[in-house]
Assembly symmetry: D2
Homo-oligomer: 468 residues x 4
């Protein structure tokens, strides 16, 4: 289960913005490992460099030095279906009647098929299948008649879905967050300029200061002299924040809406103990994702926290896959058991979520083989019953273990002695966020936008049915 894409935008008073953009992307690497791109503007023209791989693989000193300009945007790409080549790497750049445009997008749009068809009707062509290209056509078309802000507003009315954008119009850097605020986007102050980024860790790495999150439906235009920014709240709807950003996607050291993600996870761990605590010899996380949850759980129950599973820190994107008859090896390449810590003990294993359930089953099996007397499984989020259509490539519905099994069946399937999840209200409590302001599509099957074949919890006028 992985999040799709991270974005950055920087406007400095002077100097080149490419290197800080690179560092900011380095800090956001977890949001996309497939490709990376930076586009700068030096006042006269765009300069861009993109490639497949990690940020540190795509760029070297030379590349960054050849990207002059005090304005810059960056994009990290997570793999999605379809052809993967350098052309698909963002930021997406074009020239138009009104100058150059560059656009970096985190999220997924839901009505681009119909918009695309209308453009094709008018003779437009498309180079990729990317929904971002459709958004660029819309924006550029609107720019023929309108100024930038109006063109963005028309685009936001026309295009629906999740989008946190950084865009550059000539050398003006702009941040846009969709009216639902599904994906995060925040503003930071640097020594000599401002930054827009998917998460606050990108600001920290530059020793900057988090100003605040961009608000749902807000357009933030960074000043060209690096001295500040203008805010335009173009839409003010009930938001639908993705709670999975807190559970899994965002870095634990990121702060979203004044909430440190690590703390949110520890709080979820505490609630998990309070609602579903069980006697146990040791509490152990699934590394690394379950660690904060396990720490909160153990603390709440005054239980011994001890790692039963150890991750090989050199596990990378590639290794020779074991053949069928050695499937065990595949798990062991990544995770090893610490047998003398497990033997004869009851173990409570904590993870942030269960998606397909395959790994969970293998881990329970490993622990039993290592001599655990009992294995209890606790999960820091609700069962995932439906796909995400708003920016996460989790899995298809039939791959989701909880799509057709209840908790008892899942417990049996993964072979645990007991299994408990947090529910949506627990999440709401832990995040101190009204249930109606979260997107809970993947755990309820009811989405904040129209998705073909799925339930929409919003009324026709755009407000949400169950909104508080």
């Amino acid at each position: 289960m992985e999040e799709k894409c991270g974005v950055v935008g920087i406007s400095l008073e002077e100097g080149d913005a490419a290197l800080p953009t690179y560092y900011a992307m380095y800090a956001l690497q977890h949001r996309g490992q497939e490709g990376a791109g930076i586009v700068t503007h030096d006042g006269f023209q765009q300069h861009s460099e993109k490639g497949l791989g990690l940020v540190a693989e795509v760029f070297d000193d030379d590349d960054v030095e050849h990207l002059p300009g005090r304005a810059s945007i960056g994009h990290l790409r997570y793999p999605t279906a379809g052809e993967i080549d350098e052309r698909s790497c963002h930021p997406y750049t074009v020239t138009s009647k009104r100058g150059s445009l560059a656009l970096a997008h985190n999220g997924t749009l839901v009505n681009t098929d119909e918009v695309r068809a209308e453009f094709e009707e008018r003779g437009h062509t498309f180079s990729t299948n990317s929904d971002t290209e459709v958004m660029v056509h819309e924006l550029a078309s609107n720019l023929v008649e309108d100024g930038l802000l109006d063109a963005i507003k028309r685009t936001m009315k026309r295009i629906r879905g999740a989008y946190s954008l950084t865009l550059m119009h000539d050398d003006r850097v702009v941040g846009v967050r969709d009216p639902l605020g599904v994906r995060p986007l925040c503003i930071g102050k640097l020594d000599d300029g401002y930054i827009l980024a998917s998460e606050s860790v990108a600001i920290d790495v530059l020793d900057g200061e988090l100003v605040r999150d961009v608000r749902p439906g807000e357009v933030v235009v960074l000043d060209e002299d690096g001295g500040g920014f203008e805010s335009h709240r173009l839409f003010d709807e009930v938001p639908a924040h993705c709670f999975f950003e807190y559970v899994y996607f965002s870095r634990p050291d990121s702060t979203i809406d004044d909430r440190l993600v690590y703390d949110a996870r520890r709080e979820m761990g505490r609630l998990l103990y309070e609602n579903h605590g069980v006697e146990t010899d040791i509490v152990s996380p699934v590394p690394d994702s379950g660690r904060a949850f396990a720490s909160g759980y153990a603390e709440a129950g005054d239980l011994e926290y001890s790692e039963a599973l150890m991750k090989n820190r050199y596990v990378g994107r590639t290794f020779i896959m074991p053949t069928q008859d050695a499937r065990e090896t595949a798990v062991r390449l990544k995770l090893n058991t610490m047998d003398s810590n497990i033997e004869g003990k009851s173990v409570t294993l904590i993870d942030d979520s269960i998606v397909r359930g395959t790994t969970s089953r293998q881990l329970v099996k490993l622990l039993r083989e290592s001599g655990a007397s009992e294995v209890h499984f606790r999960v820091g989020s609700p069962p995932i019953v439906a796909p995400c259509y708003l920016g996460i490539d989790m899995a298809s519905r039939d791959e989701l273990m909880a799509s057709d099994k209840d908790v008892d069946e899942i417990r049996d399937e993964i072979g645990a002695d007991s299994l408990e999840y947090l529910n949506v209200d627990d999440i709401s409590e832990a995040l101190d966020m009204p249930r109606g302001e979260m997107c809970t599509g993947c755990v309820t099957g009811s989405y904040p936008v129209d998705v073909e074949g799925e339930t929409c919890e919003r009324t026709k006028d755009g407000s949400r049915a169950g909104a508080d």
Copy 2:
């Protein structure tokens, strides 16, 4: 002085067209070494593979196997000014209301700035600076209303310049040659299909049979069953064939308009002797380009043909450049003298053309240092006095040695005892082609199309002023 781009299009009765396209491109490698791309269509969708480098570097068996479909076009790219990345590699592919389009282009267009501006006015955006992208927008726009043939005709009316195209509309392969027929394009019959290619050597390599050249202003649509082709002569103007295709660009073993290029060059060599023959001990070519000319010259004069200069056949695109104080080395890395063949002898050196003149001067110097008693220089084409705007990246005007020097001055500059060129009428005679049917822009400064700041030899109605 290098030609820009080669194109191929193949339609087979059955089987996959990618591998023969690859071989055809291999035979046309001299037309573009910077990048290569193949796009196929399998009846359902396009498949494409592009990259920087030689054909054999860009493609391996795997790549070609992953390009299914009985229809295919290919493109070889020669470097031009501006950013060079994989995105600039052709064929250019898009999807449109009327399905997918792929386009491979050899030539240069002259009025794309104004066409592009009109498109931008209508909200279109452009991803590259390439004039080919403008042509694609025009074609796709026309396709919204018209059928393929009408759309192509409207495009040919709107876009001016030199273009030999292979294009694919879904899985239909089409060849288009501009009304002036500047760049070559020919049709070949294969065992189980038809091929369109820049030169006949691409047909030879597949053991096919040259049918004929595509005519200026003609559109050739290959049958989908590989059984034949339809011809549509949409324009019938006085042509303006590039004579440099015969002099330098095309392979000597190519046949253009029933004329073997090697023979044309030998004939030019003969005329060179007849008009400007000189007593000499040996006649020697500048390898490899002057070889056919020298052979014709020696034969006409019954003179001894003997190579005075030897080329290092491993000279590639890269080697460590000598520093300034060892400039001599740079020439010697490529060409060596055969001193015992030169010492005390008068040598007549034959080349196809002189562009910047730098190499010519160095070669004369090398021969003198090797003991040549006299060095005469003979050139198989007229002095190049102006740039090419129709598909060749020769040099800018001020780099051209003949742009501001007469023959005597050039002779002194390169240090030869005598220097003579063929004139335009000689070329016309050697090629048996009326002077008015050739483009002679680079040797007269007068062009068959409007080029800003240059003379056009055509009248307003499109016919040529000086046409026979």
Copy 3:
């Protein structure tokens, strides 16, 4: 501070040993990231593949398939001074009068200069500066007259220093551990054969069973039918185990001499609290190395364990280095602070060791900038006062912060409110290992072997002065 090299040897009943060797090396990747090599023997000849980089970068399926044979050894290389090329990658392979030899070495030899000189006197030449090559010459020379076991014994008498070896004589796989047992080496049973490896995690990854550690001075010859092994304890001296294997080098999930490394570290953390506990709001590890220590410390003191520093898990071997005036960035690229967890709190930071002290100082500074009211530093090992000559490339003496500073000075240097270390007796207690059976060279400056310019704690006859 990094350990040098990991070794593997596998002998199967049937099938190919290369793939399990690859997996075992994958599990030992932390012992050497510079290069990797595998040599197999198929009964007729050796096959080898080596390269620079991580195991997963050096080998792919093809490589491993081209390494047939039921016998195999592997080597992971950590960078040391001197030229680094593929030739320096182990295993080292030669042919000799008695067949082929391959040798993988973990450790450092101390008397190879004199042995090498003697060989040169007899006309031998050397291809590398590696001490391993000298050992190979010695072994091959001894093999001319002696059988394998006697030849190894003579080699062990002649060569002094630290060496855990896996070697292959034709297709016979042998493990050798030096008489002091400085570096670890263990034996594991697989489904259909036996394995020798630097650490037990290599056995776990193959779902094998740890049999026991190879004893100091022991030679273990794996049976050719994979059915067992012969043990030859050729030397029985007082050992000198490197305690840093427990503190830092080995993986926490490895078991050395029946002791799980993770537990040893937690125990050291507990002792650290018992001897040097301090009141604090939170106990926080330096990730990842300090985690087990911090967990033991917090538990012993019933203190709140909470991570104050978060590591960027994508930090790799390369990234663009910030320039001087942005030095802060370099640390922040790797570690970020979780401010809301730190602000106004007293923090006790736990690490396994302090080598140069640079990072420690930066971390204390980061915590203070994040608002920590107090920063206490606790270290799970004694101050490092001298270099290692037996297999670790820590740092030169003048780079070691503790080589010329006492604890108070170091505390001031790194800016902590208090600083405490474990002492050697604590280590001895935590490991339940007599002080006299450990090598404590780096923390006492007194070594178990003669090193030019350093104190040797052994008497002339080879027994150790201070041995219990």
Copy 4:
């Protein structure tokens, strides 16, 4: 049919020798395309860089800059049987009691198996199968007792076969040519030093002056101040020069023993006409190897020289191989016919030699398909009836078309109307070299050294049986 290896050695008065060595190797690229290596010595230590591929692929500016020292040797490697990795790339470097040695070898040794066995008996080990490594062991062993010159002399007595060597003992550069002088080696004077090289073209590229060939059995020691060289003629036997260096291996612009290779080939062409001339419409070479022969032949007979076959000048080392049913394509990828030059004409095709005969047969077939009325084949050397054991990897005996067929049978096999070869006496005449001073092993089956299973034409005392 390809020659194995080129060597270079340079000693300058001052400055760095690596760059001129690189250029010299660039000029000798035809002698080995598989790998390249340069070793320099800066007065203190060796520096080396080796790799697989062409010189220009292996080295870039950086590499050469990191090779300091006024002394340098270089080696070009041609592929031979067995494992090919960077380790097999020369120059071979070792350290010994008497300092460092580096050795670059062109040729093949015939008695290394027995020498190697003796070394192994004394405990030596070998890292490769290369016969050069054996020579290095011999040389280093001799150096323990003797000075350099005596050590070389003892090595030359002990090791038999073909060897033109450049070697470096510390920073002293030495050239050695075997007593038979099988492979070429020459001396050149540079502006500020001296060079040893396989062929004189390496001197030309540096604008140096060919001094003379190194004599058979001569050792040439370049002065350390670049001011001259010492000559030591250690052996003075009847030579056995490889005549194929003139026929095929050497570059046409090289001068061997005062004879320009191009001229030698033209002379062979002339003799070919005089002895075996035939009426014909055109004389055409197999490009590029037959060109000088064809030019001499045409001139001698006053026949029309015209190229019937054209080579694709981009044919490189790799391309996608056509499958079986398209075998024709493989030839056409490399060579195309110029049909209008061939149709209805009798063609005499000239090549330097016929080895396997496969290509010859295909070319005759191509010409007939292009309409040639007659195809006569003339070959500038005798039929190759036996393998070369002295430095050329031609083919095994049963692959040689002439090993079991007479000229008439070969003519029928390749489908020519007539076929004629030069004989050994013609070669002797053309080269003005006594038959007894040539190695004619491959065309007579009788060799100048003992080769197991072959005839030796030398008497026991080392003089040659049939020597003039």
